[in-house]
């Protein structure tokens, strides 16, 4: 079965790359440009995993993550992507329910491997 990955980031350039590599790796993809759209897309697209940027307009990644978990999306894998990376932010991300926390810039190959590992564990 093809896994679905939702890419949430307000930076179009990183979205282009993320979308490309996820498709090339055999995942079905959808894109959300901000926090609110992400919540809507989770509902509509029903992804297995969300690549979630922390810094976005309207609702930031922390809030989206916290909201998703409180809405009962417990099986959904959430990988937070951030350009921040202060230790306290990583701790915050994990404690609001993220499965992992990846700092930008990241290796696309490592990211694909990481996503694949998370999803295979879910099966």
């Amino acid at each position: 079965m093809t896994h679905k990955v939702l890419i949430v980031d307000d930076e179009p350039n990183i979205v282009t790359s993320l979308e490309f590599i996820m498709r090339q790796s055999g995942f079905e993809t959808a894109v959300a440009r901000d926090g609110q759209e992400a919540l809507d897309q989770v509902e509509a697209f029903r992804p297995d995993l969300v690549l979630l940027d922390t810094m976005m307009p309207r609702r930031d990644g922390f809030e989206v993550c916290q909201t998703l978990r409180s809405q009962g999306w417990t099986d959904l894998k959430i990988v937070m992507l951030t350009a921040k990376g202060r230790e306290t932010e990583v701790a915050r991300g994990l404690s609001v329910g993220a499965d992992s926390y990846v700092k930008k810039p990241f290796s696309t190959r490592d990211l694909v491997a990481h996503v694949a590992a998370l999803l295979s564990g879910a099966d």
């Binding site: 790359s17 993320l18 590599i21 922390f62 350009a83 306290t88 932010e89 810039p105 990241f106 696309t108």
Partner: protein, 690 residues
């Protein structure tokens, strides 16, 4: 009532004799002429009435004279040794007045001898104090010396410069108007426990960040617990911290922008390398990304490089144990009436500005508490505060039973100023520490607000004092007698007059009718502490009345409309005056008049003068009911106060202050010891007059 002339009583006695003789003769004539019994009775009654009236006037007048002589004698004894009785108004009692005056002469010369000896002794003590004062003035750090209850005994120019007008520093003022009480009591507790002799912490002061070092002054006992007071040494860290904040912000922005850009570039490049089946179009898109992102990164680096030039040295943070941080918080919250249960992990040290963090967290707790019902309820403390280790951080949790705040709500709390007069927010405090704050919900109707903070990794921070510009001015203002002042009663009423600070003030106005549109145009005030008029601690401010100044009033106070141009309105002046008169009893001559004007502006200014006010007019009238004149000039003259600069607000305030000091010693002679006693004394006359 005009005083009778010198021989008035003698004349009156002669008149009585004549009247008695005359009426007696009339009575005899009537009886002899065989007039009717009715006429005879009428004549008899008339004669007795005349006799009674005349006698009571004579003896009543005598009683008034003796009361005045007695009152003047008390003035000689208690207030003005140079005052003398006037034999000319004493009538038959003139020899007594002269005898009292002679006694007063003898006493005055004896007093002079004693004074000279005392003077010599005091000169020695003064030279030691001056040495200390000169030493204090040379210090470039701000120094405040307080007694055990926090009243300022001594301060230097550097302290006044540092703390500025926002919170006036003055002898006898509470130091807690300047430095947070929680910080000092916390330091005192630590000192009392014998842990250290010196404590370093930092404190928010308006927009400023101060580092305060507290050292006890040893009392009769040996340990810090017996301290009779403490010395505060203050450093201004604002500039350092601001610079640190700015540098952190630049660094963070650069880092974040760089990561984002590199992320895009790397992803695009790796996509091209790893997927050779890319179409020409796709490849073109990736190349454009690489080019655009690289350009953006270059621009960003230039921006940051330009801004970084302004950034100064790093901030200085102290280490604080988690339980000390919670103690600070607990104290702050108890003052606000919000009880909490506090739990701290042992041996957890944080590298933070403990005081600022406590204030920020207290702010958040108060916001949470505001949304809860029944805070003072019987079912224990509804809020729990805990600090624990969490993956290399200190995790401070505020927990309660109830709903979690929305993220937007938390954001709003973070952006609110911590204090009315301050621009510092909880977010700034969090950012400065690299902290994170967010709220959430636990499983069953339990919510939390979490603050992640860095833990201490190295040894205690080494303080690096910032050099201050040389302060050339002398002295320092001290009153060591306050060291021996007793514990301060909470309410003014029970406080002794010699332990209370007074603000003696006067206003000039456009006229006499506040309800009819008259307004204050000038306020002058001076502080009186421990029976001394502190002429260096004055308040003087012209006020824009927002209306014309009648020429008739200008003739009295000399203030013209031109002089008031650019003067601040009463709404701005009253808060400053309220700060100046904070924690003091107000005093004025006919003070009700001035208060009426101030009360009218209270609401618009957002201040309230809730302290008691004493009136020198009523006090004098109560002490000397038989003196006809209670004008400021007349009282000043009787009490030996020289009058200068009358009819400026400050000039009148200074004269009133001297008068008040003289009245204080007269009151002592009458057993008037507390503020409540004085208020009651003044009220006697006030009510008598109504």
């Amino acid at each position: 009532m005009a005083p009778p002339g010198p021989s008035g009583s003698r004349r009156a006695v002669a008149a009585v004799t004549a009247l008695v003789v005359a009426s007696g003769a009339g009575l005899v004539a009537l009886l002899l002429s065989g007039a009717g019994p009715y006429a005879t009775a009428t004549a008899a009654v008339l004669a007795v009435v005349v006799l009674v009236v005349v006698l009571s006037r004579v003896f009543g007048h005598l009683a008034t004279i003796s009361r005045r002589l007695a009152a003047d004698t008390v003035v000689i004894a208690d207030a003005n040794p140079g005052h003398r009785l006037d034999p000319a108004v004493a009538g038959d009692l003139a020899p007594l007045a002269e005898a009292v005056n002679r006694l007063a002469d003898l006493r005055q010369s004896a007093q002079r001898d004693v004074q000279e000896q005392a003077e010599a002794a005091r000169r020695d003590a003064d030279s030691e104090r001056n040495l200390l004062a000169a030493l204090m003035a040379q210090l470039t750090v701000a120094v405040l010396v307080c007694n055990h209850e926090g009243r300022i005994l001594l301060y230097n120019e550097a302290a006044r410069d540092l703390l500025g007008e926002a919170s006036p520093v003055g002898i006898g003022r509470s130091v807690f108007g300047v430095v947070d009480r929680g910080l000092v009591t916390h330091a005192q507790d630590r000192l009392a426990s014998g842990a250290e002799q010196v404590y370093t912490a930092s404190s928010l002061h308006g927009d400023r960040l101060l580092r305060v070092r507290v050292t006890p002054v040893n009392g009769p006992g040996a340990g810090a617990a017996d301290s009779s007071g403490f010395v505060l040494v203050l450093d201004d860290l604002t500039r350092q911290v601001r610079a640190g904040d700015e540098r952190s912000r630049l660094l963070r922005e650069l880092t974040e922008a760089t990561r984002a850009t590199l992320g895009s570039i790397r992803a695009a490049a790796e996509s091209m390398l790893d997927y050779p089946t890319l179409s020409g179009e796709e490849r073109q898109a990736f190349l454009e990304i690489v080019r655009d992102e690289a350009g953006r990164l270059g621009d960003r680096v230039e921006e940051v490089a330009a801004a970084a030039g302004d950034v100064g040295e790093d901030q200085v943070l102290a280490e604080i144990a988690a339980d000390d941080l919670l103690a600070l918080l607990d104290a702050a919250l108890r003052r606000e009436g919000v009880p909490v249960r506090a739990v701290a992990a042992p041996d957890l040290w944080l590298r933070v500005d403990g005081h600022a963090v406590a204030r920020a967290v207290a702010h958040l707790v108060l916001r949470v508490a505001a949304g809860l019902d029944g805070l003072s309820g019987d079912h224990g403390d509804p809020l729990t505060l805990s600090v624990e280790h969490d993956r290399g951080h200190a995790r401070l949790d505020i927990e309660w039973a109830g709903a979690a705040p929305s993220p937007a709500e938390v954001e709003r709390w973070l952006d609110e100023p911590l204090d009315p007069g301050s621009t510092i927010t909880a977010r700034q405090v969090a950012d400065r520490h690299g902290g994170e704050v967010w709220g959430g919900e636990r499983a069953t109707d339990a919510a939390y607000l979490r603050v992640l903070l860095p833990v201490a990794t190295s040894g205690p921070a080494v303080p690096t004092p910032r050099p201050r510009p040389e302060v050339a001015s002398r002295p320092t203002f001290y009153d060591f007698d306050l060291f021996t002042a007793g514990p301060q009663a909470d309410r003014y009423g029970e406080r002794r007059l010699d332990e209370v600070a007074f603000t003696v003030f006067d206003t000039e106005t456009t006229g006499l009718d506040p309800a009819g549109g008259d307004r204050v145009i000038s306020i002058g005030a001076v502080r009186v502490v421990n029976g001394r008029v502190l002429t260096q601690e004055t308040f003087e401010q012209l006020v824009q009345p927002g209306r014309s100044v009648p020429p008739a009033s200008t003739r009295i106070h000399g203030i013209t409309e031109e002089m008031l141009e650019g003067a601040p309105p009463i709404e701005d002046v009253l808060p400053a005056f309220a700060r100046f008169s904070e924690d003091t009893v107000l005093v004025g001559h006919n003070v009700a008049f001035d208060l009426q004007f101030l009360r009218m502006a209270e609401r618009a200014s957002g201040v309230r003068f809730a302290q008691p006010a004493l009136d020198t007019l009523f006090l004098h009238a109560a002490l000397h009911p038989d003196h006809p004149e209670h004008t400021l000039e007349a009282i000043a003259e009787r009490l030996g106060v020289s009058v200068v600069g009358r009819h400026t607000a400050l000039g009148d305030a200074l004269v009133t202050a001297e008068v008040f000091v003289a009245l204080q010693s007269l009151m002592r002679g009458r057993g008037v010891e507390t503020v409540a006693d004085a208020v009651a004394l003044a009220r006697q006359t006030y009510q008598g007059r109504r």
